[in-house]
C-alpha cells in the first residue's frame, strides 16, 4: 500500500526502533526509493539516534559511591565548580512561603503606620501655612462657649470675667487697666484671644494691622485670618516675647470697636486663655490664636 510523507514521518520512531510490522517497513522502503526528502530525514534521524547512543555513560565518582551524604560537594578537580545551593534554597517550601508572607505583611504594616508620621513631620507648622490651619482645627475648640480668661494650667488667679463695655468712661477705665496686667509666657504654649463681636469682618483689618505692626511676615496666611463657620480666626506661630503686647493690642481693639455701626445692643467681649500645645513648638515660640466669633 502506498503511503505518503506524513505517514512516513509519523512512524519514524517505530521505524528506527525496528518495531514496525514487515509490510509497513516495505511500504516505507518503497516510498523512500522515490522520495529523497523522506529518505534524508530518516537517515538523519537514525544518525542522531546513534550519536545519542554513542554518548558515554558518565560514571559516578567513587567517593560519591561510597559515602554520598557525608562528603563535601562538589568534589575537587571537577570540570566546573558548581554553586552549592544556599541555605535559603535548601529550606522547605512551606517554611519559605511562611517567612516570605510574614515579611510582606510586616512591611505593609510598617508602611501603613509610618506614612502618617512621616507626613506630619514633613508638614511642619513652621513651613506650611495649610498645616498651621489644620493644626489649629485640631487644637482649638470651636464651640461657642469658650472659657473666659482661665489659664487651664494656672491656679485660677488669672481668672477674670468677660468685659462688657457700657459707656465711654468705662471704656477709658478699661483701656487704662490693660497696661497693668502682667502675663508670663512659657514654652510650648498656645495663647488664645477671643473677641465676641457682631461684626468680625470690621474688626479683621484692625487685627491684621496690629499683627503687622509686630513685624510679623505679611505673606503668612495666618495674618489674613481664616473665615470659618462662626467667625474669623488668626493662627500664627510667633516669638513668645510679643504675646503680652499682642494681648494688649487685641484687648484695645476689642474695647475701641465695641460700638457696632449696626447699633446693635450686643457688645463685644474679650476673653483669653492659654494651654499647652499638643504638638511640639520650637523653643522661644508660641502659638497665637485670635478668634473673632460672630455673636
Amino acid at each position: 500500500m502506498a503511503i505518503n510523507c506524513f505517514n512516513v514521518r509519523n512512524q519514524t520512531s517505530d521505524y528506527l526502533d525496528g518495531t514496525l510490522p514487515e509490510f509497513r517497513v516495505d511500504d516505507i522502503k518503497q516510498h523512500i526509493r522515490f522520495c529523497e526528502e523522506c529518505k534524508n530525514f530518516l537517515d538523519r534521524c537514525d544518525k542522531i539516534s546513534k550519536a545519542i547512543n554513542a554518548i558515554e555513560v558518565k560514571k559516578i565518582p567513587i567517593p560519591m559511591h561510597k559515602d554520598l551524604f557525608q562528603i563535601q560537594l562538589p568534589l575537587s578537580g571537577s570540570e566546573t565548580q558548581a554553586k552549592e545551593p544556599s541555605r535559603w534554597q535548601r529550606t522547605p517550601w512551606f517554611l519559605k512561603s511562611g517567612i516570605e508572607a510574614s515579611g510582606i505583611a510586616l512591611t505593609i504594616l510598617i508602611i501603613v503606620a509610618a506614612v502618617p508620621r512621616i507626613k506630619s513631620n514633613y508638614l511642619t507648622t513652621e513651613s506650611n501655612p495649610t498645616a498651621q490651619y489644620r493644626e489649629y482645627q485640631n487644637e482649638v475648640d470651636l464651640s461657642p462657649e469658650l472659657p473666659t480668661g482661665i489659664d487651664k494650667e494656672g491656679s485660677g488667679d488669672e481668672d477674670f470675667d468677660p468685659i462688657p463695655v457700657t459707656d465711654y468712661e468705662e471704656k477709658e477705665k478699661l483701656l487704662e487697666s490693660i497696661d497693668s496686667e502682667e502675663i508670663k509666657v512659657g514654652n510650648g504654649e498656645v495663647w488664645r484671644f477671643h473677641i465676641k463681636t457682631d461684626s468680625p469682618q470690621e474688626i479683621r483689618p484692625h487685627i491684621k494691622k496690629a499683627l503687622i505692626s509686630f513685624h510679623l511676615p505679611k505673606n503668612d496666611p495666618g495674618i489674613e485670618g481664616f473665615v470659618v463657620p462662626g467667625g474669623i480666626q488668626f493662627n500664627l506661630l510667633v516669638n513668645k516675647s510679643i504675646i503680652p503686647e499682642v494681648k494688649k493690642e487685641v484687648q484695645k481693639i476689642a474695647i475701641e470697636h465695641s460700638d457696632s455701626p449696626s447699633n446693635s445692643s450686643i457688645r463685644n467681649t474679650f476673653t483669653w486663655y492659654k494651654n499647652k500645645s499638643r504638638k511640639r513648638i520650637s523653643p522661644g515660640k508660641a502659638r497665637l490664636v485670635v478668634w473673632l466669633s460672630q455673636i
Binding site: I48, S49, N53, I55, I60, L73, S78, A82
Partner: protein, 161 residues
C-alpha cells in the same frame, strides 16, 4: 534505616549502588556541569531516603527513582532554560561539519525542553522501553513516540540547516 535482607547494608546504600550511575549520568548529560550534577544526584537520593517506607515502590523501584530524578531535574533546569536558541545559532555559525555537529549533540540537546532531553536519553542512550519511560514521565506511550519523533525532527533541522 531499613536494611537489605541479603547484603545487610542500609537500603539507601543498596539503591545508590544500583541506580547511582544512571541518575548521575542523566543529571550530568542534562545539566552539562559536573559540580551541579553531583549536588543534584545527592539531592535526589536524599529525597528518596526521606520518603516514608510505605511510599517506597519496591516493585517498580527503578521507575520510581527515575521519576524522582525527573522531577528534580525539571526544577533545576528551570533556571537554565533559554528559549532564544542563541546557543544553536552560535554552534551553527562556527562552521563545523555535520559530523562534528553530531559529536556535539549534547549542546544542541541542551536547548530542548527537559522532558524531551529526558526521553531521548532514556530511549536512545540507555535503551529503556517505552513502558518504563511512560511510567517515569507520566506520558502515554503513543504520545512518547510522537514526542520523540518531533524532537528528532527538531534536532535534524538544527544540525542540517
Amino acid at each position: 534505616m531499613k536494611k537489605d535482607k541479603i547484603t545487610k547494608t542500609p537500603w539507601i546504600q543498596t539503591v545508590i549502588n544500583r541506580y547511582g550511575e544512571t541518575v548521575y549520568n542523566l543529571c550530568h548529560r542534562i545539566l552539562l556541569n559536573e559540580g551541579e550534577a553531583q549536588i543534584l544526584t545527592r539531592d535526589i537520593f536524599k529525597t528518596i531516603e526521606k520518603s516514608p517506607t510505605q511510599n517506597r515502590y519496591h516493585q517498580f523501584e527503578k521507575q520510581w527513582i527515575l521519576k524522582v530524578a525527573f522531577q528534580k531535574l525539571k526544577q533545576s533546569h528551570q533556571q537554565h532554560i533559554d528559549l532564544s536558541l542563541k546557543e544553536v545559532r552560535e554552534l551553527n555559525e562556527t562552521h563545523l561539519s555535520k559530523e562534528e555537529r553530531l559529536e556535539n549533540i549534547l549542546k544542541y540537546m541542551r536547548n530542548l525542553p527537559i522532558e524531551s532531553q529526558f526521553i531521548l536519553l532514556l530511549k536512545d542512550q540507555l535503551n529503556e522501553s517505552y513502558d518504563e519511560i511512560s511510567t517515569i514521565t507520566g506520558i502515554p506511550i503513543e504520545s512518547l513516540k510522537v514526542k520523540r519523533q518531533q524532537v528528532l525532527q527538531t534536532l535534524e533541522e538544527w544540525i542540517w540547516q
